[in-house]
């Protein structure tokens, strides 16, 4: 089982899939930074002064890391940054879920959706599960690279 988990066939596909997901997620945010800044502000977790710089930087970081994974350049670093981003998203959404602040996650779409509070909470729970899934993909990449290094 563990051997299959580190198989290059699986690793390459996971790497490309994770890269594509991050590229796709980055594009709408790059196109419309003010909407993404609005989404970040709605999380009510970071100081106002950091909202706009973060809205500008984060999508480009997602794009570059996604491209790095797709192209197989600096895979280890890109994977680590992506894992850190995913962990941050999971924590940020969980905090808002716990404090009852219904938000649109702004993960793949930055346009304000006309959703009810209940729909938003349901979406937030799904997003956490989805992000955990992606975190597991990053963990698989890490496991495969560690195993590969041990064998060489």
């Amino acid at each position: 089982m563990m051997q299959w988990l580190a198989h290059p066939w699986l690793t390459v596909r996971v790497q490309i899939a994770l890269g594509v997901i991050f590229v796709v997620a980055a594009l709408p945010k790059i196109v419309d930074p003010p909407s993404f800044a609005h989404m970040i502000y709605n999380y009510k977790l970071i100081p106002w002064a950091l909202v706009k710089p973060m809205a500008l930087l984060m999508p480009w970081l997602e794009l570059l890391c996604g491209l790095a994974l797709i192209l197989g350049i600096w895979k280890g670093t890109a994977r680590t940054i992506i894992a850190a981003l995913l962990l941050t998203f999971i924590i940020a959404i969980s905090i808002n879920l716990l404090r009852g602040n219904a938000i649109d996650c702004g993960c793949f779409d930055v346009s304000a959706a006309n959703k009810t509070t209940e729909e938003r909470f349901a979406d937030m729970r799904l997003v956490i599960l989805r992000d955990i899934g992606m975190l597991l993909m990053a963990a698989q990449l890490w496991y495969a690279s560690t195993r590969e290094r041990a064998l060489t």
Binding site: H38, L57, W60, L61, T77, A112
Partner: protein, 224 residues
């Protein structure tokens, strides 16, 4: 694991991302640009009290300009002495504002549909705090686009200040709305206006969705 190599690669990715972001932002259109240089940050939101009726009519020259909303609720209670007004045990739904006097100690007052309609009929200034792209899809007739998230917001606010430089004009009611619900854009804009001496700002609590629900006229396109 080569931590130094890892760190250098991470730093390079972050620097490259920052450079791309700055270049892209520099070439972005007005509606899509973010102004990162210190801008007036939204102050901590002042607790917005519910509209309090002001029973004493103002004997000033501004009195005729104050809106009087004639509803059944106001006509039945208007001549009764306060002591004889029966106290209702349950809270009543929000009562329409009778007057819209300046409130220099509060950034804004939240109002509901009936008051908004009255102010609209009166010809008060309406500001739409939603994104310009959303404004174009439909807005309250006469409303101007004032998205707090777009780069030209300070320019627009300054223009409004110049337009209404007379203190009397600054006391005229201004209604700000966004998408209702959790939307805070109108509150942020209200804080901004209050910061430059606009003392009679109202936030349409239920926002544009409520206006639509009431079947009131809507304009589309970029013109107010």
């Amino acid at each position: 694991m080569n931590w130094r190599k890892h760190f250098v690669e991470a730093a390079t990715l972050i620097v490259a991302a920052a450079a791309c972001a700055m270049v892209a932002n520099a070439f972005a259109s007005k509606e899509r640009k973010l102004v990162v240089v210190p801008q007036s940050a939204p102050r901590p939101v002042v607790a917005a009290p519910q509209p309090t009726p002001e029973p004493i009519p103002q004997p000033t020259t501004t009195a005729p300009t104050t809106a009087t909303v004639s509803t059944t609720a106001t006509t039945t209670t208007v001549n009764r002495p306060p002591a004889t007004v029966p106290k209702k045990p349950t809270p009543t739904p929000p009562q329409p504002e009778k007057t819209f006097n300046p409130h220099p100690n509060t950034a804004y007052i939240e109002i509901h549909g009936d008051d908004v309609e009255a102010l609209h009929k009166k010809g008060s200034l309406f500001l739409d705090a939603r994104r310009t792209s959303v404004y174009d899809q439909g807005h309250i007739p006469g409303a101007r686009p004032y998205s707090v998230w777009e780069s030209d917001i300070d320019e627009k606010v300054n223009k409004l200040f110049t337009e209404r430089s007379d203190p009397r004009d600054q006391n005229l009611p201004i209604v700000i709305y966004c998408s209702g619900g959790d939307c805070e854009d109108s509150h942020m804009l209200a804080q901004k206006l209050w910061g430059i001496q606009f003392n009679n700002v109202y936030v349409y609590k239920d926002g544009f969705p409520d206006w639509q629900k009431r079947g009131l006229p809507i304009h589309t396109g970029s013109a107010p």
